[in-house]
């Protein structure tokens, strides 16, 4: 399924790798479907969900979903949510958590022994993919996650070269790299990415769907550029961009590139 938000981020935690490891704790980021409930009535939920899953049965098969309760008029008791989870399961999807939404949700999550997924804030800003209300949105639309609040955190500064095989991720903020990003390295941010050394690796801005995020670099040799999941690989760098200071931005679904200073955008 073309869920462009699945950037497949995996960050290896610094572990004492010199020793044999029983477990490896990794940070992984995946896109997740949100099911926003407008009602807790199992009957109407099951009717709608089975209708939707019928349109794309494989897409929903054992798909993890996150319940967003923010549209419910009042916080339902745990029992009610349990039966909702059961009907969702019968429709083929598996509830893995509740979208973050305050202490009431936290308590409910504890009762249900489900995690609260903080990253997927219950939000009214974006349209969730599956609305348990009359809707005819195509079921295959990519899951959307709210953009991080701008200016919440200062930019993450990286002064060391980012070597092949390394990843640097600036969560909820911009990333500024003052050294080289080598071929085979990955730099990503939920905000903008600025690279002041040669950029030879892969770069992802707006990793959480911020379509206003941009990539700026001093010497463009990137292998891949992605903004909010829209990406382009460079098998051959356009000669007019090679080694130049370049910025990339998203115009609609189109990834645009221009030399810095040569765009009025």
């Amino acid at each position: 399924m073309p869920n462009t938000k699945k950037t497949g981020l995996l960050m290896k935690q610094p572990a004492n790798a010199a020793r044999e490891q029983a477990v490896e704790v990794r940070f992984g980021q995946v896109g997740i479907l949100q099911v926003r409930l407008h009602t807790t009535d199992p009957g109407s939920i099951v009717d709608e969900l089975t209708g939707k899953t019928a349109t794309a049965p494989h897409f929903f098969e054992r798909t993890p979903v996150c319940l967003d309760l923010s549209s419910l008029p009042k916080m339902p008791p745990a029992e009610e949510i349990r039966s909702v989870i059961e009907v969702i399961r019968r429709a083929g999807m598996m509830t893995v958590g509740l979208a973050h939404g305050g202490t009431a949700v936290d308590e409910l999550a504890t009762d249900l022994e489900l995690p609260v997924i903080h990253h997927v804030r219950a939000s009214t800003k974006t349209a969730p993919i599956v609305q348990a209300a009359p809707a005819s949105a195509p079921a295959a639309a990519p899951a959307e996650v709210p953009a991080p609040e701008p200016g919440a955190l200062p930019a993450l500064l990286q002064h060391q070269p980012v070597r092949s095989g390394q990843r640097v991720y600036a969560r909820n903020r911009d990333l500024i790299v003052t050294a080289t990003v080598a071929a085979g390295a990955e730099v990503m941010a939920d905000g903008c990415v600025h690279v002041y050394g040669p950029l030879r690796g892969r770069v992802m801005a707006g990793a959480h769907g911020d379509t206003d995020a941009r990539v700026f670099c001093q010497a463009f040799h990137a292998e891949l550029v992605s903004i909010a999941g829209v990406f382009r690989v460079f098998e051959t760098i356009p000669p007019e961009l090679a080694g130049m200071p370049v910025q990339a931005w998203l115009a609609g679904d189109d990834l645009k590139f221009a030399k810095i200073g040569e765009t009025d955008k």
């Binding site: 610094p14 790798a17 092949s164 095989g165 085979g184 390295a185």
Partner: protein
């Protein structure tokens, strides 16, 4: 103070063992007490290059597993008084190494008053390579002037800055040096090979030595004499320079320009 230098590269066949042997000899020639250790368990080579393969009784794995003492396993070089070789095991695999075991061996060498420990890393980024670099103070990253070697070295440099004891304990950086081997100025001039400048720019590191491509290396390996001991060879001079630079001297790089045809070359058709 014992300094641990790992000789590593990521890619195989670029000249790690040749470099380890020559650097170890070069340091020992300057009166330093040096132990050179083969971390390539299962594919031991260093003893061949050092010419002591018939004198290996106990190896690194035996020491780590407590089957002999370190003294029993250290092979004293016949040419240089202060040089010792610790061979790898040919019959075990890399899992025979343990972090604690390596640490114990290094600690013991430190107490024995060694000036330098040269850790000859295996290729790859698996356990053997990891343990070879883990305790290092410095790293000599051996790179051939070609793209795959450069990329693998970049990966190794990434690991050096994150997966070493120094990095994990926040105890400063492992000091990294770049050593180019199999360098052919002629092929650089024709554009077939990356230049020193290209490699330096991509990896963002200073070059501690440039070793020219030469048949002397193969001849030295086959005869079990580290190439640095072949005084007639440019390779030897290049390694001598590299050793001096490792010890803090500043020397201009040699053998990076295409040689002008001199008297001998003209006489013998170069």
């Amino acid at each position: 103070m014992t300094e641990i230098i790992v000789v590593t590269s990521g890619k195989g066949g670029v000249g790690k063992t040749t470099t380890s042997a020559s650097i170890a000899c070069g340091l020992a020639r300057r009166g330093k007490k040096v132990a050179v250790i083969d971390f390539d368990i299962g594919l031991r080579n260093l003893d061949l290059i050092m010419g002591c393969e018939r004198r290996v009784v106990y190896d690194f794995v035996n020491v780590i597993q407590g089957e002999c003492t370190l003294k029993q396993a250290l092979i004293k070089d016949k040419r240089l008084e202060t040089l010792f070789v610790l061979a790898a095991s040919q019959t075990r695999d890399k899992d025979a190494l343990s972090s604690d075991g390596v640490r114990r061996v290094f600690d013991e060498l430190t107490t024995e008053g060694f000036d330098f420990i040269i850790a000859d890393s295996p290729a790859g980024i698996e356990k053997g390579a990891h343990l070879a670099m883990y305790f290092a103070d410095r790293a000599v990253v051996v790179v051939n002037p070609e793209v795959s070697s450069v990329r693998d070295s970049d990966r190794i440099l990434g690991l050096l800055s994150s997966k070493t004891q120094r990095a994990e304990k926040g105890n400063g950086q492992v000091k990294e040096h770049l050593l180019l081997t199999r360098y052919s100025p002629k092929r650089v001039a024709t554009g077939e090979m990356m230049s020193v400048g290209d490699v330096k720019e991509i990896l963002g590191l200073d070059v501690v030595g440039v070793v020219p491509e030469s048949p002397d290396v193969l001849a030295a390996s086959n005869s079990g004499t580290p190439v640095i001991l072949n005084e007639d060879s440019d390779v030897s001079r290049a390694y001598e320079d590299a050793v001096s630079r490792l010890l803090g001297e500043t020397l201009p790089l040699r053998f990076i320009d295409e040689p002008k045809k001199g008297f001998f070359a003209r006489m013998f058709g170069g």
